[in-house]
């Protein structure tokens, strides 16, 4: 071959490679063919860094829509929507007092699609709060927190708290009246351990409350330092924390063997449909697993693959459907109702009534009895109680079934009745008759801190649930009663805070009865 021929063949090769470059490029991105066979469907999942949080195959039980109602996915989808819209809003938002308010006004009136993006951000955040609470209720009522999923339930509580933290820090940023007084109240709730330390006379050398408030505000007044801190929490610290917890949460769902299902799920489901593709026709003849050198049972032990289907397309199309539905809901709400913006923050005159967003009004009702118990004590007791559930309920009956286990639906109905009655009763009594301070003006504060409508309600619920544990001889039944009661209490307090509280946090049957100033 002459020198000339060789160079011309290299040139031809160059031209051919150039022609093939687009196809080759695609082949290097997706290193397997289209997901048509079982094997390529599997590689589609575990060959992709984002999708491999899923298992390659999904149990048919997990795909029934009554198993999850898609609530966890709605929460995750809403988070993705807030992430995208939130980054867009950051193009214009300026975290400095007064300037912040002007920049929100710019977003509202001047920035192209600004109003719409702010609406979507706000509605997706609301959807996320609703969905995260309902998701927790779903996991609880199907007893899906049981072994080996105990710790994932605790991670889920971390996600609930982070979600509420994101909502709280988010509505502070516009620096309107709602924002300013919400920061003030929030920072003072952080300071409320002083209610205890003052009563014990140890505030001077153990001022936890004061330290917490100072860390939040960066100052002893609500001003520029406070706003920049809440901004940092909202756009950086809490989202990072949420993403980290979310990754662990998803990963553990997979590692714990997918979603919880009843022991007899295979029998309930019946045989796979006749047209289902048999599982092991093309499987490799040998499997190499790390599990060979790991102690203990893996989630796969005892769970045959016969009732599973490939995650691609069955699971992914379902997930895509839920994502589209969530987006649709957020967009529809955004076109329908605009996100509110109140007057510029006025440090001298709080709004009357000064109300937080709806999901904190139950909490606001509680702090109107005692700042420390309502804002710190009861929430911590509730969180500790929730976190202990999977470690106290180690029964096996009813896993994966709605309201499964001892008691079942009738118990949940009774607990709902008791939960609603107790909450309405205690509230009605406190509203009509007042509380200890009105009867005994000189009563020590410590007594009111520990004996107030909020703690009374929590104690009633705890007693009821202990009674159920005894009667049904089952911890699960007690947990079922307690969770239902607290859910009912949350709903009742939130409704009272939203619709029946007026100026000076007085009770009114309707806003039409509010006194005119």
């Amino acid at each position: 071959m002459s020198e000339q021929e060789r160079s011309s063949s290299a040139l031809r090769e160059f031209a051919r490679n150039l022609r093939q470059a687009p196809r080759r490029f695609l082949e290097t991105v997706f290193r397997h063919g289209p997901p048509r066979t079982d094997r390529t469907r599997s590689t589609f999942v575990f060959g992709n860094v984002f999708l491999h949080l899923h298992a390659a195959r999904t149990h048919r039980w997990s795909l029934r829509w009554t198993t999850t109602l898609g609530l966890g996915l709605v929460t995750a989808a809403a988070f993705v929507i807030t992430l995208v819209t939130g980054v867009l809003l950051m193009f214009y938002y300026k975290p400095y007092p007064d300037v912040a308010y002007q920049s929100i006004k710019d977003i509202h009136f001047v920035v192209p699609t600004g109003l719409f993006m702010r609406n979507v951000h706000r509605w997706a955040a609301n959807v996320m709060v609703v969905a995260v609470i309902l998701h927790m209720a779903r996991v609880f009522y199907t007893a899906a927190y049981r072994a080996p999923r105990e710790f994932n339930w605790v991670i889920g509580m971390g996600l609930l708290v982070t979600t509420l933290g994101l909502s709280f820090t988010g509505y502070l940023l516009p620096w309107d009246q709602l924002a300013y007084w919400a920061i003030t109240i929030g920072a003072n709730i952080a300071q409320s351990p002083r209610e205890i330390t003052d009563a014990l006379g140890i505030t001077d050398w153990a001022d936890i409350g004061g330290l917490q408030r100072q860390l939040l505000l960066g100052s002893d007044v609500v001003g520029e330092e406070a706003l920049i801190r809440f901004y940092l929490l909202h756009v950086m610290l809490l989202p990072l924390l949420l993403v980290a917890l979310l990754a662990v949460h998803f990963w553990r769902v997979r590692k714990d063997g997918g979603l919880a299902r009843p022991a007899d799920a295979d029998r309930r489901l019946g045989p796979p449909p006749a047209d289902a593709y048999p599982v092991f026709t093309e499987a490799p003849r040998k499997t190499y697993q790390l599990a060979a050198v790991v102690r203990g049972r893996t989630a796969a032990v005892g769970n045959g693959p016969e009732q599973t289907v490939p995650s691609m397309p069955h699971l992914f199309y379902a997930e895509l459907g839920v994502f589209m539905l969530t987006t649709l809901i957020c967009l529809a709400l955004s076109l329908w109702i605009d996100a509110p913006l109140k007057e510029l923050a006025n440090p001298n005159v709080p709004e009357n009534p000064a109300k937080a967003p709806w999901y904190f009004l139950g909490l606001q009702e509680c702090v109107s009895f005692s700042a420390f118990m309502g804002g710190v004590g009861i929430p911590l007791i509730v969180l500790a109680g929730l976190g202990l559930i999977p470690y106290l309920d180690r029964e096996e009956r009813g896993t994966g079934v709605w309201c499964g286990g001892p008691g079942g639906w009738p118990l949940v109905r009774w607990a709902t009745l008791f939960g609603l009655a107790a909450a309405i009763g205690v509230e009605a009594f406190a509203i009509r008759c007042g509380w200890l301070r009105e009867w005994f003006p000189d009563i020590p504060q410590l007594v009111i801190t520990f004996v107030n409508p909020g703690t009374l309600l929590a104690a009633l619920y705890a007693l009821f649930s202990l009674f159920v544990v005894r009667k049904q001889n089952s911890v699960r039944a007690g947990a079922l009663a307690l969770f239902t009661c607290f859910l009912c209490g949350f709903v009742v307090l939130t409704i009272i805070g939203t619709y029946f509280r007026g100026p000076n946090w007085e009770f009114f049957w309707s806003p039409a009865d509010w006194p005119k100033h």
């Binding site: 007084w181 003030t184 109240i185 920072a187 003072n188 709730i189 409320s192 209610e195 003052d198 009563a199 330290l211 100072q214 860390l215 960066g218 100052s219 002893d220 007044v221 001003g223 520029e224 330092e225 801190r229 050198v293 102690r295 440090p347 001298n348 005159v349 709080p350 709004e351 009357n352 009534p353 000064a354 606001q364 702090v367 109107s368 009895f369 005692s370 700042a371 309502g374 804002g375 007042g434 301070r437 009105e438 003006p441 504060q445 009111i448 801190t449 107030n452 100026p503 000076n504 946090w505 007085e506």
Partner: protein, 161 residues
């Protein structure tokens, strides 16, 4: 115990801690402890050493016509000044419950946020407030006074007018 007496262990069931591991574990835990203390130390940063709040002292001129028992609230300040036969005093308007600014009424103060009520001298009448409204230090005289919001005085302390 001699070496022969030990039960044979497999690769999958090693001894809990071998002698060789002790140094390694000690190094690991030293590093973790050092990093932990470093982290705790760096948390000193968010706690501001200098607070960026405006001055807490301000001057105020009481109108001569101010009747006894009626509150005078200087514009932009959360303090109510009173003058009666015994002298002048200043009551904080920041609710001791959760920090809202209370509204001055002829009979006392009411908080718009959670419904605390206080009498004219700041004593809690009802609601969730755990403490009475504090009284601030007042100095000066002859109609011109300096109020120090950073300094509290016991309830009932008046400046002789």
């Amino acid at each position: 115990m001699t070496a022969e007496a030990r039960a044979p262990r497999s690769r999958l069931d090693p001894e809990p801690v071998t002698r060789r591991d002790v140094l390694g574990l000690a190094a690991l835990w030293s590093a973790i402890t050092a990093l932990g203390f470093g982290l705790i130390g760096s948390l000193r940063l968010p706690r501001a050493a200098v607070l960026s709040s405006p001055s807490k002292k301000f001057r105020v001129t009481l109108p001569d016509s101010l009747p006894a028992g009626q509150a005078f609230v200087p514009p932009g300040r959360a303090v109510a000044l009173f003058r009666d036969a015994a002298g002048v005093y200043a009551v904080s308007l920041i609710c001791t419950h959760l920090g809202c600014v209370v509204k001055s009424t002829p009979t006392g103060f009411e908080c718009p946020c959670h419904g605390s009520r206080f009498t004219l001298d700041g004593t809690v009448a009802r609601g969730p407030a755990p403490q009475p409204l504090p009284w601030h230090k007042v100095t000066g005289g002859g109609g011109e006074y300096v109020v120090d919001e950073g300094a509290n005085v016991p309830q009932g302390t008046r400046l002789q007018a």
